[in-house]
């Protein structure tokens, strides 16, 4: 019987993931202690987002992600959609800035200035709506290309690289969608444009999910090659994975569009 301790133990411990999650929590908490007042719901959304990303990568759940296609799809739904969605929704910039040591906050104006300027240019390019949407959908297709998926699941280094690209891209995308408050370096899109981007990323995700679900052939041989976590019909595993790629992923666009509209109405109310 698997006990709670066994469930909490990471299947493949990853120091970078652990450190990133720990820093995300510590800096945010420090920001709150230094007087930043994000409010209950944003704080809950932020910690839930970080917690979910940690849970699917640094607990025994990761074992299932590696040896069941359906569990892998759920892991990526959280790494690329739900986790970054919740973090970006909380717009934690002010709290994180308050939590960072002053020396770190001054870094962009110090000797590393050219580096930060280059980073800023790259960031702004990646945050062009067309490019952001293209990358968001493109990455899902890229890692689900059967040959590439095979290598990514076979090599532990590529596996972590894949998961990092999903989280980073998820954060970029949802940040662009939920960006609000004081203007930063993220391009500010109108609510209509945000909803347009959200609508445009839906059909390719639905098409891919439906294709996997209804495909009559076993597309991802790697799970047969490496063995599954428990005996399960490969086609059933693939169908569940396809449905996860299809329905909840597309629903996230709808949920985000409703939130973008709600923000817009709230702003109108404040003006009125």
């Amino acid at each position: 019987m698997t006990t709670l301790v066994e469930w909490l133990r990471p299947w493949e411990p990853s120091a970078p993931v652990f450190i990133a999650c720990a820093l995300a929590v510590v800096i945010y908490a420090a920001g709150m202690m230094r007087g930043a007042r994000p409010g209950f719901w944003p704080a809950l959304s932020y910690f839930a987002g970080v917690g979910l990303i940690y849970a699917v990568t640094q607990t025994h759940y990761d074992y299932y992600s590696q040896f069941l296609f359906a569990a892998h799809r759920l892991q990526h739904l959280i790494l690329h959609h739900l986790g970054p969605f919740l973090i970006a929704l909380s717009m934690p910039t002010a709290v994180l800035a308050a939590g960072l040591p002053a020396a770190v906050r001054r870094l962009p104006d110090g000797g590393l200035r050219p580096f930060f300027r280059a980073l800023r240019v790259v960031y702004r390019i990646l945050q062009q709506p067309f490019i952001a949407g293209f990358l968001f959908v493109g990455l899902i297709y890229f890692w689900l290309t059967p040959e590439i998926h095979f290598d990514a699941m076979l090599s532990i280094d590529l596996y972590w690289f894949m998961n990092w690209t999903m989280v980073v891209d998820g954060l970029l995308f949802w940040w662009l969608i939920f960006e609000r408050g004081d203007r930063g370096i993220t391009p500010r899109l109108s609510p209509g444009r945000r909803i347009l981007v959200l609508a445009l990323i839906m059909p390719p995700q639905i098409a891919l999910g439906a294709y996997i679900t209804f495909s009559g052939q076993n597309l991802f041989e790697i799970y047969d090659v490496c063995g599954r976590a428990f005996p399960i019909d490969p086609m059933l595993d693939q169908q569940i994975g396809g449905l996860i790629t299809w329905i909840p992923a597309a629903m996230m666009s709808v949920a985000a569009a409703i939130i973008v509209l709600a923000f817009r109405l709230e702003r109108d109310d404040e003006k009125a």
Binding site: Y63, Q66, F67, I125, L126, Q128, F130, I131, F134, L135, G138, F142, E147, I148, F150, D151, A152, M153, L154, S155, I156, L158, E221, D224, V225, C226, G227, R228, A229, F230, P231, I232
Partner: protein
């Protein structure tokens, strides 16, 4: 022009990443090349004679490793018949001794004697080994594989999910190729010969 550059950059990145992945996997194999993707051969198991067996005992010749169980109704016998045919085809005219290690992930039912009887049936090149479940977990994890057990039925029989791949290592123990169920015996034989030749 500047606008074009902006759009081109991410696409080039994706393309570069794709090429990198293809390069990692190795393209010259007729089966699946895994150089750089999986670690070297290393294990400590119990052989058919009941003695400890390690990678040092198999050094000097290419080794094919397979994870299975002797009660396996389909995947394992098929894989063993295929690899026996491929090693026979590849072994002609080669000085090198190709060897196949059948690692049972079902130590509850497979003891060394049973493994010896099972592997003898396929080829002299095939030998069996097993260990306790914990050791097998570590070994399969090293090669990014796993196994699991079903609930036993009223006769005590149970199904085991396991890897269907054959991992091919060269004489120095470097991971070179992965044989999948979809690879043909001819392709396996060609790659075995290639790996045996260095």
């Amino acid at each position: 022009m500047k606008r074009l550059d902006r759009r081109l950059l991410p696409r080039l990145l994706v393309l570069a990443l794709g090429l990198l992945l293809v390069a990692c996997g190795g393209r010259d194999y007729q089966t699946k090349g895994i150089e750089g993707l999986l670690p070297d051969l290393a294990f400590q198991l119990t052989g058919e004679d009941g003695e400890t067996l390690t990678e040092a005992d198999l050094a000097g010749a290419p080794t094919v490793m397979f994870f299975g169980f002797t009660h396996c109704p389909d995947v394992c016998p098929t894989a063993m018949a295929r690899i026996a045919a491929a090693t026979e085809a590849a072994g002609k005219g080669l000085d090198s001794d190709l060897q196949v290690l059948f690692v049972s992930v079902d130590p509850g039912r497979d003891d060394p004697q049973k493994l010896a009887r099972y592997t003898d049936f396929f080829s002299d090149r095939v030998s069996g080994a097993t260990a306790d479940v914990e050791t097998l977990r570590e070994l399969t994890k090293r090669y990014r594989a796993t196994f699991g057990y079903d609930e036993p039925n009223e006769f005590g029989d149970y199904n085991v999910s396991h890897s269907s791949a054959m991992y091919v290592f060269d004489a120095d123990g470097n991971a070179r190729a992965l044989f999948r169920p979809s690879d043909s015996v001819a392709a396996m034989a060609a790659d075995l010969r290639r790996i045996a030749e260095g």
